[in-house]
């Protein structure tokens, strides 16, 4: 399996690279005497003005990577360069990055304005300009009249905005955000997502954003880096990741998916489901997949269509096991011949559907995305 398939859809010259991480390794000793490999060979280039999301299961090394970038953690090997300059020997306080901490980390003994002006003060900006710029930043996050309050007099969402203002007021090359929205309720989260995007456009700062929430990642990012076990599994635009997952892990992690593994034979996939599944010959040619090759095919639930069980276009036969009403559509869980389950989306809510009913399923072969190899899914970590 390719460790990191860099399918950068952007055509940037190297001058535009803000952050360049090469072969970053970092492991920790555990109290039990073992070792945890938090990062094992991460390569990542982030361009000017880009919104990149790090997405992955818990414990896969996202926070560790951010801490290495900001300088709170060192690398065992590899290099991190910001604006073309290696950061290996630079302490955290001399790096042109700012962080929005998950816990906000606002200084409790300072007012909101003093908090925001802290970075400017450290940079030696005069009092007048400092106050003016802090107020401007506060205005930007929509808290113009709260400058004199103390952090604990603000709601969680307001504190979050102050943390954001405190970071952007310094105009860093790169802004790191470690799950900044995870403490907010759903409505506030969505509102903040929109605002973060707006701010990023206005400021033209590159954002590196960590989240657990795939929906958040899909809606906000220019590119998403899918992390797994200290490696980047895939780095690509949300569309690319959804349509062409590079590995089984990515296919399962992003969106709902159905996976079949088997061997290729005459432009079909022979798998345990019984029926040979037709494949798109164009895709086979493009990827150089020959007969006999082990592959995993991914198909999204919305790309499967219902038909009568005996209909000529039916490529799979199944029995409905469960019908879930989702408001504008149904999700069906069906059992295939080999007892495996498959998910289907039905947008026509008027189709009569009942549990136990036999159905046929069809799809357009180009919707079936192929992944080389069929290694079973690695442990969820």
């Amino acid at each position: 399996m390719p460790a990191a398939q860099q399918t950068a859809s952007r055509t940037n010259t190297t001058n535009d690279v803000v952050l360049s991480i090469q072969c970053a390794h970092r492991s920790f000793k555990t109290p039990e005497g073992g070792q945890v490999h938090a990062l094992r060979g991460v390569d990542l280039d982030i361009f000017e003005n880009e919104f990149v999301t790090l997405l992955g299961p818990s414990g896969c090394g996202k926070t560790t990577l951010l801490r290495c970038i900001s300088g709170f953690e060192r690398l065992d090997s590899g290099d991190i360069a910001i604006g073309g300059e290696s950061m290996a020997r630079r302490p955290a306080h001399k790096r042109p990055v700012n962080t929005v901490f998950q816990s906000y980390a606002l200084f409790p003994h300072m007012t909101v304005l003093q908090n925001i002006g802290y970075g400017l003060e450290a940079a030696g900006v005069g009092r007048r300009e400092r106050i003016a710029r802090s107020e401007e930043a506060l205005e930007m996050v929509g808290l113009g009249d709260m400058g004199q309050r103390r952090p604990e007099q603000l709601s969680g969402g307001q504190q979050q905005r102050v943390a954001l203002a405190r970071a952007i007021v310094n105009r860093p090359r790169l802004l790191l955000l470690d799950e900044p929205l995870s403490a907010l309720d759903r409505n506030l989260r969505q509102q903040m997502q929109i605002e973060l995007k707006r701010l990023q456009h206005e400021l033209g700062i590159a954002f590196v954003f960590v989240t657990h929430d795939q929906e958040e990642a899909l809606t906000m990012s220019d590119r998403i880096a899918i992390f797994n076990g200290g490696r980047i599994e895939q780095l690509a635009s949300p569309r690319e990741i959804y349509d062409h997952p590079a590995s089984e892990f990515v296919a399962r992690f992003i969106g709902e998916s159905n996976l079949f593994s088997g061997k290729i034979a005459d432009a079909t996939l022979i798998s345990s489901t019984g029926n040979p599944l037709p494949l798109c010959s164009k895709q086979l040619d493009l990827r150089n997949f020959d007969n006999g090759r082990q592959v995993t095919a991914v198909i999204r639930p919305e790309h499967l269509h219902l038909c009568a069980p005996e209909a000529p276009q039916a490529q799979l036969n199944a029995r409905i096991t469960e019908v879930i009403f989702l408001g504008t559509e149904y999700q069906l869980i069906c059992t295939l011949n080999d007892q495996s389950l498959i998910k289907v989306r039905v947008t026509d809510v008027n189709t009569p559907l009942s549990v136990g009913q036999n159905i046929g399923l069809s799809y357009a072969p180009e919707q079936l995305h192929l992944i080389a190899g069929s290694t079973p899914l690695r442990g969820a970590a």
Partner: protein
């Protein structure tokens, strides 16, 4: 809960304010204080004890309005008081300088090592203070460890005079009061979230700026508590100067001890004691004021 509808007699109401805390303070704090103030305004009896007549000469001996006939003004009392304040302040400073970095360092250790360190810090409490001070005597005296070492190295030809100096008293008091300074400082450093220190660095503040703008202000309550609970017992201490200062370095505590135990002049001893008490009460009042104001500010009342 059953509520009685009967009105309680009026005279009972003030008595209900007597919570256990109030009672405790009345019996063990206000009581002795009142006795002391009363005694300090009475005439000393000829063979010890007191005569129950009002007498302002006790304070006169200290502050200067003594009649010069039966009682004489002597500046030595005020001087000793000033010296005691100075030594207590130096003790506060030395314990602070040792404890702050130590507490910071220990708070960042792995949890196992940390609990061992905490145990070592509290260990001296299990041994009598007198025994521990005698150990210093063995270290500091002319034939003590330090002098013998320095002489055998050939650095000095005759023993240094270390016993019975202010230095010895400061060393002893610093040693005795270290844990009192350490614990409150440690508690406040422990509470300080590491993310605030990282945030400060992240915003470009150097370690020095981070210390003065973030770490120190947020641990100041611990420093102030530590300073007060070291200053108060240092000011009135008589055991350390008694053992390590001898007759050369006297503190107010020693004067009071002499008046009560040897001169048997209780009223004068009480007057000297009240001088210390007044200084401490004054300090505590300031402390409470500052505390309540900072609590008010953090609740948003002061903004």
């Amino acid at each position: 809960m059953i509520k009685s509808n009967l009105p309680r007699p009026r005279w009972l109401q003030p008595l209900m304010l007597l919570s256990p805390t109030t009672l405790f303070l009345l019996v063990f704090f206000c009581g002795p204080l009142a006795i002391m103030v009363t005694y300090s305004l009475l005439e000393p009896g000829i063979y010890g004890g007191v005569e129950w007549t009002f007498y302002d000469q006790n304070y006169g001996r200290i502050f200067g309005w003594a009649d010069g006939l039966y009682e004489e003004f002597d500046p030595i009392y005020l001087e000793t008081f000033a010296k005691s304040v100075r030594l207590a302040l130096i003790t506060v400073a030395t314990t602070l300088l040792i404890c702050y970095p130590a507490a910071f360092w220990i708070s960042r250790l792995p949890s196992r090592t940390r609990s061992i360190c905490m145990f070592l810090i509290t260990l001296p409490f299990f041994v009598s203070m007198i025994v521990r001070l005698y150990a210093w005597l063995l270290i500091l005296r002319p034939t003590g460890v330090i002098n013998q070492l320095l002489m055998s190295l050939g650095l000095i030809s005759e023993p240094l005079e270390m016993m019975y100096t202010e230095g010895a008293v400061i060393v002893g008091m610093t040693y005795i009061f270290l844990p009192f300074m350490f614990l409150p400082i440690y508690a406040s450093i422990e509470k300080l979230p590491g993310s605030l220190i990282e945030a400060s660095q992240d915003l470009g503040a150097s370690p020095v700026r981070t210390f003065f703008r973030v770490i120190l202000p947020l641990t100041l309550p611990g420093v102030i508590s530590g300073a007060i609970i070291v200053f108060i017992p240092s000011l009135g201490n008589f055991i350390v100067p008694g053992l390590l200062g001898g007759a050369k370095v006297m503190m107010v505590g020693n004067l009071i001890e002499q008046q009560f135990l040897y001169a048997r002049n209780w009223p004068f001893g009480a007057a000297l004691s009240f001088m210390i008490m007044a200084a401490m009460l004054f300090l505590l009042l300031i402390y409470v004021r500052v505390q309540s104001r900072s609590i008010g500010a953090s609740r948003g009342e002061g903004v």
